[in-house]
Symmetry: C2
Subunit: 109 residues, 2 copies
DNA sequence: CAGTTATATAACCGACTTGTTATATATCTG
DNA sequence: CAGATATATAACAAGTCGGTTATATAACTG
């Protein structure tokens, strides 16, 4: 899910649903099968769903999967923020500049 | 930088500096060269620095690189949060349940 | 200096990822 | 049903990643 193409696809789907050919047009740098593969990944991840409309497959977002993703990202970013906070504090401290200063922009001040 | 071993290494460095052998001991599941490789990645990323102490190489955190990482993560998480917010709103809207409700925990409410 | 200790690097490997081209499948249409 | 259109899948190639073993390098020590 760190793939930029896939992120862009979800981006597009935020606004409205899209058929595969929409995506093929939107990403001229990659082939149709590549697009289909990305969509398959998103499908398998439960992030999108498909409706059959004539020969077209129309993709739209799938709320449940997105909630999960949301949670995952939240967890992830908390993990990182914790580390980085602790870390910068430690460093600020260590540098003996202003002990106990709680990382206030680390700029000018 | 999503690698769990590397995250754990930074974790350890949050508390105090460590020599390579410290890490080798801390990660018994991987070999010494593997540890050195991870450290090289962190070095190249500017996240840690090394001091030579006798035969040992002592690693500690590098504030500048971490600030960058911090910024990167911040950007990343904003990007995602935006997307997911817009997305869930759109979906909530689309489902015709309660138009314009601004995702209040999507629970009980 | 010879040997030991601590770490880094080289060469290689298997797994996974993202792309490709070629082909199969599904749906509509005359 | 035959053909066209839209999409999916198969088979393959190249790149990256994280690991390995073997070896080189650096610094201390007798």
């Amino acid at each position: 899910m760190a793939d930029p193409t896939r992120r862009a696809m979800l981006d597009l789907l935020c606004k409205q649903e899209h058929s595969v050919s929409d995506f093929v047009d939107a990403f001229p740098s990659i082939s149709q099968p590549a697009v289909s593969k990305h969509l398959k990944v998103l499908r398998d991840a439960g992030l999108v769903r498909v409706q059959t409309r004539a020969q077209q497959r129309v993709y739209s977002l799938q709320p449940e999967g997105l909630a999960e993703l949301d949670a995952w990202i939240a967890k992830y970013k908390v993990l990182w923020s914790e580390n980085l906070d602790a870390l910068e504090e430690y460093l600020a401290d260590r540098k003996q500049k202003k002990p106990k200063e709680k990382r206030s922009k680390k700029r000018s001040e």
